[in-house]
């Protein structure tokens, strides 16, 4: 499957989607002007991936910051993982946050509350 490799900018996160390598990562800050232009290719990639997924999908989020428009798109990404779980596959979100960032921790807990995907909350030492 095609590999997505996007470098981080001051308004968009680093993204790596590599099924062969078992790497699924979004990390950094997200406040683009046009969130759909940035996230649509990622969501489309996942739509294809979930047709023939790996045995286990560990999706890592390691966000420093995201605006509310991005929060909606991040949910769309997580909902693709929910499809995986619903179709009997093994998927987990590893939600990494700076240990002193209670807002980011709470954001992860809120996603965990509204989707049927297991979350692992991972504080990162500052």
């Amino acid at each position: 499957m095609e590999i997505i490799n996007i470098k981080a900018t001051d308004e968009t996160p680093e993204v790596t989607l590599n099924a062969a390598n078992h790497t699924f990562l979004i990390a950094g800050r997200s406040l683009p002007e046009d969130v759909t232009a940035f996230y649509d290719p990622i969501v489309s990639w996942l739509s294809v991936y979930i047709q023939e997924p790996n045995d286990i999908t560990e999706f890592v989020f390691r966000m420093d910051y995201f605006n509310t428009a991005s929060s909606k798109m991040i949910l769309d990404v997580i909902l693709k993982l929910e499809h995986l779980v619903e179709s009997g596959h093994n998927a987990v979100v590893k939600w990494c946050y700076r240990e002193d960032d209670e807002d980011m921790e709470e954001a992860g807990e809120e996603y965990a509350d509204i989707v049927e995907v297991p979350f692992r909350m991972i504080p990162i030492e500052v």
């Binding site: 406040l31 509310t68 949910l75 960032d101």
Partner: protein
């Protein structure tokens, strides 16, 4: 024109502007177009200033977040004073103030009268909610909302109220029969 090349009225204005900024404890005042570049510049500027002032990490993050949401709001949701229809990028005023207890972020922009009822209802409703209700509403809206054409998630005000734990200040002043000037003031508690 005086021999010093400055109209005395302008000097008076500049001095009054200076004293107003000082009296009202404003550290930044801007009027004009708000685009993405400016949003990033202001937000980073604030982040650096707060870092230099050794402000708490959590306060820094909240100020950054409120600034981004407010500036992107103006950029996306400002209307033209003559026609009352949307303009892009939007423009308006943007103020950042700092007192002993709070940072205050204020925005002011032109909005069509057709949108006022909706904004007022939304903000009045949010201001009535306690933190638990805000959390519930945020999750509901996150799950159920669709991104608008302008890329808004309808989450901005709810999220601001939730993260700051403060009521949102707002007001409208009539500009003409089509539009009002919409003022929004958000406070972030300093620790």
């Amino acid at each position: 024109m005086e021999e010093n090349q400055i109209d005395p009225k302008f000097t008076k204005f500049a001095y009054e502007f200076h004293t107003t900024m000082v009296d009202r404890k404003l550290m930044l005042a801007y009027e004009g177009e708000i685009n993405q570049q400016l949003t990033k510049t202001f937000a980073s500027m604030a982040k650096n200033t707060l870092e230099k002032d050794e402000e708490d990490n959590s306060v820094r993050r909240k100020v950054f977040h409120v600034m981004v949401e407010c500036l992107q709001n103006i950029g996306k949701h400002t209307d033209d004073p003559d026609s009352g229809t949307g303009i892009s990028p939007g423009s308006g005023i943007f103020l950042v103030g700092k007192t002993k207890d709070h940072y205050a972020i204020t925005t002011g922009n032109i909005v069509s009268k057709t949108r006022i009822h909706e904004i007022r209802t939304l903000l009045t409703g949010i201001n009535k909610l306690d933190p638990d209700d805000l959390k519930t509403l945020y999750k509901k809206q996150l799950r159920e909302s669709r991104l608008s054409e302008k890329g808004g998630a309808g989450l901005g005000f709810i999220d601001i109220a939730k993260k700051t734990g403060q009521k949102i200040g707002f007001d409208f002043i009539e500009v003409n029969e089509k539009v009002d000037f919409f003022l929004l003031k958000i406070r972030i508690k300093r620790n």
